[in-house]
Amino acid sequence: MSAELELSGKWRQHLQRLPESAMGSQHVDIILNTGQIIENVTVFNGRYAQLPTGLIEEESISDIVIRENHKEG
């Protein structure tokens, strides 16, 4: 089940500094405090993370890193 997580200002500023993957979107990996990595998450407008699985708490995010730019057909 997918879910959308609205990121707070801290992560929005972080994402603004990262490259876009296409107009309006970024593909990222979200690294959690536990060491778990949620791979290939799309974020729209640097704010709305489209999580592939259930909702996570923003406090559990340790880092967000950009994936190599590629589009999926």
Partner: protein, 207 residues
């Protein structure tokens, strides 16, 4: 006959800006107004040298640096080849430079688009399209199709970007993706754009 533009140092001690023809003849900028064609200019310069009318000689020259992409003739060749080649996505293209007064557009689903700074510039590595290509798009849903946008929220907010000449960018063609055909032109502003270069958004129809 080729030409170069630059500043030469004369044996009189003066520096003068002008055109160097074929690496041989120098014509100061102040004298260019009297000529309507390059051929006329060349003939006059050659005649002057043959008649040894001038005792002035050139001791050194510093040429104006002009990026290839800003030369009109080079741009035409680029446009011609672009029409005949299958173009790659912008991310795989070489970095080129914007031309003077070139305008770009960015389609977004959000009025507070995250790539536009508080001072109305663009942050580095931001996508947009050319103003010419944007003429093909009348609605936010058409923007999703032409630029293969992943979000299906209507991208009906249109920002206008007016970067200075020689702003670095990559140019390419949008590949099909996310069930959309793509095919529009896309650019990436590698270093972003300076403050006060972004206006809008203009709101267009959603669909």
């Amino acid at each position: 006959m080729g030409y170069q533009i630059g500043v030469v140092r004369l044996n009189t001690g003066k520096n003068e800006h002008g055109i160097i023809l074929n690496g041989t003849y120098f014509v100061p900028s102040t004298e260019l107004a009297g000529f309507s064609a390059l051929s006329q200019l060349v003939e006059e310069a050659q005649a002057t040298v043959r008649a040894s009318k001038s005792s002035v000689t050139i001791e050194g020259a510093a040429l104006d640096s002009r990026p290839a992409a800003s030369l009109r003739r080079v741009k035409r060749i680029h446009s011609l080849s672009a029409a005949n080649e299958k173009q790659a996505a912008a991310k795989d293209a070489e970095v080129t430079l914007t031309l003077r007064n070139e305008i770009f557009k960015r389609f977004s689903a959000y009025e507070n688009d995250f790539r536009v700074t508080e001072k109305r510039g663009l942050v580095p590595n931001t996508y947009a399209t050319t103003a010419e290509d944007a003429l093909n798009v009348k609605t936010g849903m058409e923007a999703i199709a032409r630029y293969a946008l992943e979000s299906k929220k209507s991208a009906n907010k249109v920002f206008t970007i007016s970067p200075p000449e020689n702003t670095r960018l990559q140019r390419g063609v949008v590949e099909p993706a996310y069930g959309e055909p793509g095919g529009g032109l896309e650019v990436i502003f590698v270093d972003g754009t300076p403050d006060y270069t972004v206006t809008g958004p203009e709101i267009i129809a959603e669909k």
